[in-house]
Symmetry: C2
């Protein structure tokens, strides 16, 4: 008999039909006359109830089917008498695939997320993490579908690179040298290394993404990105996934339209495709989750210059609002606290902040005519702060070279990047979205380590 | 005026309408009365012809618009008089975004792929590489769509790992240690390294994928994978993308059905969605390309045991067929040459080879009752040889531990992996597909370095 997935069995109304379901036991309880087994196969957060006549099988065998065990059940699909479920299965035959010893780390309910992180390979079998990773999947699908439908090409930028992108962050080195043999005379024989030079893990695919956009017109990256920052916070990972679209012939207003449309599409996709999982998380993790998601897709994002933003923050301080990090005036970098004040308290909806001071932003961002602000377009979100960082790119070869020199960067390292401005340069723009920040937002989870299957953080690279 | 993408302009039949197109000049030729500019914006392999009245603009400016330059054109869409195109644009106004100096490396036609590899950032602007990377995009979309539609969850397995997977290949080390300071006393202070231990780039996401499948039911990975093998061949990359689905409750026959259905879906997707690009490659790269692709989706794949395969190869030798690598009989590992003989000459269609000797395959593959073969399911393809490597996984804790010990592997390193067999073990199966091998097959390209934007190979990590 062909197996039926539990997500399909729960929708089935062919009562009286025999079906086969397979999965892991979430709970097993017995009354006098009957045993109830809640079975889950990962296809949905909902369990199917297996009703077992205890006289139909060996008592010890039945008793051995504990939480975490894996079984195959053949039985009759019937309408359920119990509350909270429409169908159940009257068991005819149970095959045990794998029992589950009593030291199963996920046996108890209500264990802390911190505890479960130690068992990242088994937490996947819990309701919360099942929900989170089904939603993560759906968000990835939404990303690909959105860009594909809009004529963008998925573009694989390199993971190992000899470029340091923008000097954006601390990098991991990649090597095949034997570390117990380097440094003998304080030097490193890079000529013997695999690539013949020092190489690192990418901190951003953007510069290479621009190479794609200035040829294929519109591309997006979606791949792992690395920062070797020694930050033990609920917001930092050493390995995370980034989405970086880059588009030729796009101007600042159109870039903002793209950002807003894209992120609303993703959130709407979750609302349309992850209903059961979101309802569970809304109940268990964050009671305002659904309301927040629905409000984000409905509201038009505020478009606010950095200068206006600073003004609002300064006014807030005058009115007595206390920030942990002081508002030091124009030119300061905003912290997440400041961004969230604007979004959550002042405007009560997402904000696209534009035209930051050039000095606090990357070298490739296009300056405005005033010479001191640039055409940035960062999206600030409730709970998250900056969820997207975007800008128009400087397309003038001369201006870009001047900026590289002014910042003391090595022009020669960027020769391939500068070629896009040397040969048929075009106006273009793009943005970066940290995928895990989107997942944090959409799931209501608090710690970024709980929205990636196997988090990499300082001193942690398990599994 | 809103820009029209060239792919849309070429479909447009609103003759007489003014439109705006933007792109890069592929060629500029002039006759006495009129200039013709072929413009491409990456949205399609086809150019749109811009017809310019040379008296309408400054002669030097017009002359400066050479191959590679980037321009914006406003003009009237008209039916084309020329052969090979249905519409063209009568230019009214041309804005130059970026000129292109005469040292533009992609200026000449017919340059070798080897030459173009040096300019991987600019080869993207050529017809061939535009076609290849639009097809690569489409294959990625097909992968995601197939698995999403079939209830698989996209699962991000870690890139940095302290596990060596299966000892599958040479690994790159990842470190934040200063290599000029390690090795002073022949030791490496791993306690000071970012993760507090030795870590590498993943050689396969499969083992972690199994953690996902034994919780979520069916997952797939699609991410970068690394091998530090010093192989300078047209088939090897140090950094490549792998797709690794893993499915709970799947048996060997069903696994073969999945492999065949999946790969046919991808090839059919290319035929349905990449027509213009495939026709170009069929004309310029491989005149049998379309025929081969169409035959693969039509033919039922042969299902052949390794033992039968060896028999056929031995018979071929008896009949006088000469192989570069000798057929040494049962127990030997097949080379690509042998696989291609079976596929291209003997059966003339794809082959799924099953039940290999356990000894030549990985430790986690499930053995048959005979104790010497395993439930493998590799797919062999014309031109490529092995395109998919798959198997049922051993689900018995005791058998898996015995195999790990028999192979002299460290049981403790696999404790998290063994937990899937310890707690609620389930039958499951999966496969791995090297994405670039699929792209080689679908594009007809010969060298794997030409189907990934920025190839990483020994001594090469440019861009």
């Amino acid at each position: 008999m062909k197996r039926t997935k539990i997500i399909d069995a729960l929708q089935c109304t062919e009562y009286g039909k025999d079906i086969n379901v397979k999965g892991w036991v979430r709970s097993h309880r017995n009354s006098k006359a009957v045993d109830f087994i809640a079975l889950n196969d990962g296809s949905t957060i909902n369990n199917i109830q297996i009703v077992v006549d205890p006289t139909s099988m060996d008592a010890d065998t039945l008793k051995s089917i504990t939480t975490g065990a894996c079984i195959s059940v053949v039985g009759t699909l019937v309408q359920s008498q119990g509350a909270g479920q429409t169908v159940e299965i009257q068991s005819k035959e149970i095959e045990i695939y794998g029992l589950c010893p009593s030291d199963y780390p996920m046996q108890k309910k209500g264990q802390s997320f911190e505890y479960m992180r130690k068992y990242a390979h088994l937490r996947l079998r819990t309701n919360t993490f099942g929900a989170v990773f089904r939603i993560r999947h759906n968000m990835a699908i939404a990303v690909h579908k959105y860009f594909h439908d809009h004529g963008f090409y998925y573009f694989h930028t390199p993971i190992i690179t000899a470029s340091d992108a923008e000097g954006a962050g601390e990098m991991f080195q990649v090597t095949t040298l034997d570390l117990s043999r380097t440094g003998k005379d304080d030097t490193v024989p890079y000529e013997k290394d695999f690539f013949g030079k020092k190489t690192n893990l990418t901190v951003s695919g953007q510069l290479e993404g621009e190479l794609g956009a200035t040829a294929l017109g519109a591309i997006y990256t979606f791949g792992p990105t690395f920062r070797a920052e020694n930050s033990n916070t609920p917001r930092h990972l050493a390995e995370f996934w980034m989405i970086e679209p880059e588009v030729a012939f796009l101007e600042q207003d159109e870039l903002m339209d793209l950002e807003e449309d894209f992120i609303k599409y993703c959130v709407q996709w979750a609302l349309d495709n992850c209903k059961d999982d979101l309802e569970f998380l809304n109940k268990m993790i964050d009671k305002t989750l659904l309301e927040t998601l629905e409000s984000v897709v409905k509201e038009r994002f505020v478009r606010l210059t950095y200068t206006e933003g600073i003004h609002i923050l300064e006014e807030a301080v005058k009115q007595g609002h206390q920030f942990e990090f002081p508002i030091t005036g124009w030119g300061m970098d905003l912290s997440s606290e400041h961004e969230r004040y604007l979004v959550e308290e002042y405007f009560k909806r997402p904000v696209i902040m534009t035209d930051y001071p050039s000095e606090i932003k990357a070298f490739y961002m296009k300056k405005n005519a005033d010479g001191r602000t640039m055409q940035g377009t960062d999206v600030l979100f409730p709970r998250i702060g900056e969820i997207i960082g975007g800008s128009v790119r400087e397309e003038s070869y001369d201006k870009l070279v001047a900026e590289i020199k002014a910042r003391g960067m090595e022009k020669d390292s960027y020769s391939w990047y500068l070629d896009t401005r040397k040969y048929g340069s075009c106006p273009h723009a793009g943005f970066g979205l940290g995928f895990e920040r989107l997942i944090l937002f959409v799931t209501g989870m608090q710690n970024i380590r709980d929205v990636i299957p196997f988090p990499r953080t300082p001193k942690t690279a398990e599994f």
